[in-house]
């Protein structure tokens, strides 16, 4: 009996103190995805990677806005978004206290401005993404003189690029002299 009691005393209380004391999670725990909208470039890599479609993006071409949405209710905490994010804007934290009374509280949204195409003046890509690419190119060793030329190219939508390329090729073939065969 005494042995049992001393054994019990030594073992102590196995039950965790939570919710009256904080509950420490183990390292590598995948909890609530923390989104830092200031670091996001709206490149949509996470929305493509998300297997549960908890991350979605929609583009409003008229307003020139792109809206990023995260639904914690649908998230399966797989960390695929964290893996693919080029800027580290989304990181899974150790926070597990996600229960809500109102479903709307499960949503995180962010709105990004689209930049206009330099030739057709229609919005096509997030301004932050274009700036990020230029920043990367500059750091990778692109000379200062090239920056403006690159900016013109990066701020042109694929449609206009294609059109410009076609007209360039047709112009060139028109001015080319007929080939003389021996």
């Amino acid at each position: 009996m005494l042995k049992l009691l001393t054994g019990l005393f030594k073992t102590g209380d196995a039950t965790v103190k939570y919710p009256f004391a904080p509950y420490p999670v183990s390292p590598g725990f995948r909890g609530k995805p923390e989104f830092a909208p200031k670091r996001c470039i709206a490149c949509a890599a996470c929305t493509i990677a998300c297997p549960a479609n908890a991350l979605t993006m929609s583009t409003d071409h008229h307003a020139g806005k792109r809206t990023w949405k995260l639904n914690y209710g649908r998230c399966i905490f797989c960390a695929r978004c964290e893996e693919v994010c080029p800027t580290g804007a989304i990181v899974l934290s150790g926070d597990f206290e996600l229960a809500v009374f109102n479903k709307a509280d499960l949503m995180v949204t962010a709105e990004f401005t689209l930049t206009n195409c330099q030739s057709c003046e229609r919005p096509f890509a997030p301004a932050k993404e274009v700036n990020y690419v230029i920043e990367l190119l500059t750091r990778a060793g692109m000379p200062e003189s090239e920056t403006e030329r690159q900016r013109v190219m990066l701020e042109t939508c694929p449609e206009c690029k294609r059109r410009a390329e076609v007209s360039r090729v047709t112009q060139a073939s028109r001015h080319r002299r007929p080939e003389i065969t021996p």
């Binding site: 196995a14 039950t15 965790v16 939570y18 919710p19 509950y23 999670v25 590598g28 609530k32 989104f35 909208p37 200031k38 670091r39 996001c40 470039i41 297997p51 549960a52 479609n53 639904n71 914690y72 209710g73 649908r74 998230c75 399966i76 905490f77 960390a79 964290e82 893996e83 800027t87 580290g88 804007a89 926070d95 597990f96 206290e97 996600l98 229960a99 809500v100 009374f101 479903k103 709307a104 509280d105 499960l106 949503m107 995180v108 949204t109 962010a110 709105e111 990004f112 401005t113 932050k128 700036n131 990020y132 920043e135 990367l136 750091r139 990778a140």
Partner: protein
């Protein structure tokens, strides 16, 4: 009572026989939620889940987490229940039994949607045979996201329902500000080297951990400190005491030295 309202769910089709509750019951429920002065009996309804949520519910009533210290007890009949815990994405076949369980429980009752599937349909939200969560069929009072929610998250939700804790999560909306530009991570390291390091670390340690390890390595590499890089790495590895990490860091150091 049939409610043809799809505003709460993402479903295009409302579930047949979807229930809405009367005002009187809603009021009774508020008092039950706020001021429950007895044990809360929980009945668990599996509406097509993968059983992960069930395992976590039973982990939550195990001695380690011990939900019974709050008087939370699992019962085996909805007729004894105050709280109905719905798990799973609500398959077509489980809609009718779910409604029967709801009707069998005495009023006022609290309905909890458990897990990602219960909240919104989760990863199965666009399957042909699911209604996409509990709320297209039954009015829900509390949502517990997670896939599955950990026992601690379950305890938190019960504490929330019993008024012991406050809700932490709030809807957030961010609008891009002026001149909000992003600086690349580890700007002092050349892009090509960064790509090579990340690739190697991911090859060695798997995708997520590889990225974390590469991040730590580049943090050490890019830091401007008087101690030499090799010494900093050694100090870090000594502290972590993990041979696997030492191996990966060795490979990454080789890549840096080669350039």
């Amino acid at each position: 009572m049939i409610q043809l309202d799809t505003s709460h769910g993402t479903n295009l089709v409302p579930a047949p026989g979807a229930i809405s509750e009367s005002e009187q019951i809603a009021k009774l429920k508020q008092t039950l939620l706020k001021d429950i002065r007895r044990s809360a009996y929980v009945f668990r309804v599996d509406c097509g889940g993968c059983n992960g949520c069930e395992i976590e519910i039973f982990a939550a009533i195990s001695p380690l987490f011990d939900a019974e210290r709050f008087g939370i007890k699992l019962v085996s009949s909805p007729r004894h229940a105050d709280v109905l815990l719905y798990t799973g994405a609500m398959t077509r076949a489980m809609r009718q039994p779910a409604i029967r369980a709801y009707n069998a429980a005495p009023d006022p009752k609290i309905v909890i949607s458990y897990g990602a599937c219960g909240c919104t349909g989760g990863i199965f939200h666009d399957l042909y045979c699911v209604w996409g969560g509990t709320d297209p069929v039954i009015p829900v009072d509390l949502y517990i996201p997670g896939c599955p929610p950990t026992p601690a998250a379950t305890i938190y939700a019960f504490a929330l329902a019993l008024g012991l804790l406050d809700q932490k999560l709030k809807a957030r909306h961010h609008v891009e500000g002026e001149d909000e530009n992003v600086v690349p991570i580890h700007p002092q390291i050349p892009l090509n080297l960064r790509v090579e390091l990340e690739r190697e670390a991911r090859r060695m340690a798997g995708y997520r951990h590889g990225r974390i390890i590469a991040d730590r390595f580049m943090h050490l590499l890019g830091a401007e400190e008087p101690t030499p890089f090799a010494e900093r790495v050694q100090h870090y590895l000594d502290r972590e005491d993990d041979p696997r990490l030492a191996e990966i860091f060795g490979k990454l150091t080789d890549i840096v030295l080669k350039r």
